[in-house]
Amino acid sequence: MYSVLKSEKGGVFAVRSLLKRLLTENMVDAVFVAAKTPYSDLPMPTLISSPENIETADPLAPVAPFNASRQASILLRSDTGKRLALVLRPCEIRALIELVKLKQCVLDPAILIGIECKGRMENALFLEQEKQRSGISISFYQDDNLKEMICSACNVCDHFQPVGTDLTLSVFGVQISTGIGVEAESETGTDILKKMGYSDVQPPAEREAELRDLQQQRLEAKSVLMEKTAEDIKDIKRFETLIANCLNCSNCRVACPVCYCKECVFVTDVFAHEPELLIRRAVKRGMIKMPTETTMFHLTRLAHIGHACVACGHCTSVCPSGIPVADFFITVGSKVQDLFDYEPGRDINEPIPYLVFEEENQ
């Protein structure tokens, strides 16, 4: 079922009024959504229960300081009996689904509201643009120059349409200045729209073409990126050059939505070194680089979660040394995903490849 939420004040207002009605009509107990806080222009994942506070919600802002699946999974750790509406980007939903597979959270209390995502900007760039012109949450969808400013992972993202949602906020084929489309993807979603009195209409004619064009464009960009990255890492020496500036700060791991270990193996003693062995090795080889575990770290992380990487790009965003972590995760990850015919976040029932074994695997 597809409907259009009209608002003279634009799509953001339309979304707010939808969320507000969810609260006022007691369809949910709280709404999880990116909203501006008093401290910064950067919208942060927030949990809103009172309808008047919805005015701060800004889910269409082209920025995401976190992959909000991490915060969402805290709320969904167990079924509290409270109903929650969660407004999330496609990559956030896909990460959330991976976390559900790993029993880190449950979806029972959630009404998932996905956003069709045209990408996010790096935080600094967003703040700068926001300062220059207010209302970027609408102008972003109209100004082609701004679209050029999205971060590199978004630039190659071909999963801009959310999957597995109840409702999807649709920005394709819609003039954001006049409202936003909403599509019910589940029975729950349809019920909500019907209850609110929206009627089923034909999606705008331009929608399909826009989606197709973007898909085409993104796939092309992705293959360019993957080719370039494959070249950059094609032997271990090049890869070392690529990550030469790695400080081993673990920011990428902390930002990663599917890296959920309570304690990373890299902070344990598993990779400790005996001084005597290092000295013996140096004697034998003439010279060794003292181990920093940077290469080990990235390769191990790839082996660990390469199959589950949702390509959200937050690892690159947070790297203080500007290493394109996401680039090689996307490149290598997709090889692993192809090998097992696995796509993270595609289907909640799709088993994690390493947990299924068949006789004919030889």
């Binding site: 494959a230 890492i233 094609k234 032997d235 271990i236 020496k237 090049r238 890869f239 070392e240 193996v265 598993v270 990779f271 090795r281 080889r285 060794i288 680089k289 181990p291 920093t292 575990e293 940077t294 290469t295 080990m296 390769l299 191990t300 790839l302 082996a303 660990h304 390469g306 199959h307 490149t331 290598v332 090889k335 692993v336 090998l339 097992f340 490849p353 390493y354 299924v356 074994f357 068949e358 006789e359 695997n361 030889q362």
Partner: protein, 141 residues
């Protein structure tokens, strides 16, 4: 390639089949090149991706994993569980320039001393053909 090149090979083997096969190769005095170093584990199913990555980054020229034939696993299906993981790591290492042939998975049963000898000799030959590992003489980690 390089006549002087003597590869370093790590063999991660399960206690019940391939380690026993190595013992049998020993008792049968089936000699093979001395480049192989066996690391005994209880089951191929306990081989962590980290071991393989570590071995390569520490300078191993080849890693061979030996376990029981499918259906013969002492722990029912540990070897099958291992298979996918090893393929996965192999795929990743391949992206970073480690030729797929440097990582080999072989089922060698407890009674196959001869198989063990043949496989080791053959694997060393393969690695000699490939030449030293890209990380040789460096330490990356």
């Amino acid at each position: 390639m390089n006549d002087q090149f003597e590869p370093q090979i790590i063999a991660l083997v399960c206690n019940w089949c391939t380690y026993t096969a190595a013992d049998l190769a020993g008792t049968s005095r089936l000699s093979y090149p001395s480049n192989v170093r066996l690391v005994r584990l209880m089951c191929t199913g306990m081989i962590d991706a980290k071991y393989i990555i570590k071995a390569f980054l520490d300078g191993a020229d080849g890693v061979v994993i030996g376990g029981c034939h499918p259906g013969d696993c002492h722990y029912i299906n540990g070897n099958l569980k291992a298979t996918k993981r090893i393929y996965g790591v192999g795929k990743i290492m391949e992206q970073f320039g480690f030729e797929p042939d440097r990582l080999r998975l072989k089922w060698i049963g407890a009674s196959e001393g001869l198989e063990f000898q043949k496989n080791m000799a053959e694997f060393i030959e393969t690695i000699k053909q490939l030449g030293p590992s890209p990380v040789k003489s460096r330490m990356i980690l």
